[in-house]
């Protein structure tokens, strides 16, 4: 079965990202595949490279980056939501005249169309949020 995941909350603030991550691991562990994990609303905060995770707690963003690399899973931050919240890749940095980009490894920034596409192509969409 092909799954699409949506994460609507930021790291640490809410368990959504943790639950989505654990669910994603279980999906792969059981032999299914993930077409895309789409981060929307505050979910885009999962994709900033500037996170300094607490020493005694889990590293939410890093975990996602590693997961993406190990299993070749597509992690997408919504560009509109990312703009509002200050998460930029190099292309958006240049296009909007900003002095820095801060996208974490394993993530890419793209449009809402990627969410809709995932929903069309996946067998199941699972939404993690408040």
């Amino acid at each position: 079965m092909v799954f699409g995941l949506v994460v609507n909350e930021g790291p640490y603030q809410h368990q959504a990202s943790d639950t989505a991550y654990n669910f994603a691991r279980a999906v792969i562990g059981m032999g299914h595949s993930i077409i895309r994990v789409f981060f929307y609303h505050d979910g885009v905060y999962n994709g900033t490279r500037l996170v300094v995770p607490p020493q005694d707690d889990r590293a939410v963003t890093e975990r996602w980056s590693e997961f993406a690399e190990t299993h070749q899973v597509d992690l997408v931050l919504c560009v509109a939501a990312a703009h509002r919240r200050g998460i930029l890749d190099e292309s958006e940095r240049q296009r909007n005249g900003k002095d820095a980009e801060n996208l974490a490894a394993g993530f890419r920034i793209s449009g809402i169309g990627q969410l809709v596409e995932a929903a069309i192509l996946a067998d199941r969409m699972v939404v993690f949020g408040d």
Partner: protein, 129 residues
């Protein structure tokens, strides 16, 4: 949109977007509407449903300009033209909040809880904001 295919068949799914939160206090309604707008060009079968405090998003004569907020709910009026099949709202949730069809800024289909269950069972994908 040329569409997505499974083999030679164009994929057309029944999409339900569910909104359960009131407008303006949080961004979910506004950003939710942005997904509905974008999704509208993908030629799928789209229904939008307002439940719980989400019904407040449909109330007419909102004036968030005094707060510097965008009056995004006016965008719900464009949904039918964009090919959204129906805008639905829970009749019970409206009534519980002292609202009726006359208070709404669009002509919404008011559904009972049985009809809502039925609607949800007949979808391929449900996205909630």
């Amino acid at each position: 949109m040329s569409g997505y295919r499974k083999g030679r068949e164009l994929i057309v799914k029944r999409f339900l977007y569910v909104s359960r939160r009131p407008p303006h206090g949080t961004i979910y309604g506004h950003e939710g509407l942005e997904v509905i707008f974008t999704g509208a060009v993908f030629d799928q079968m789209v229904t939008v449903l307002f439940l719980d405090d989400g019904v407040y998003q449909l109330v007419k004569d909102q004036d968030p300009g005094a707060l510097g907020f965008k009056n995004y709910a006016l965008g719900f009026r464009a949904l039918n033209e964009l090919g959204v099949q129906a805008i639905c709202a829970s009749r019970d949730d409206l009534t519980a909040r002292g609202l009726s069809r006359e208070d709404l800024l669009v002509d919404a289909l008011l559904l009972s809880s049985f009809e809502i269950t039925d609607l949800m069972e007949n979808q391929d994908t449900i996205l909630s904001f």
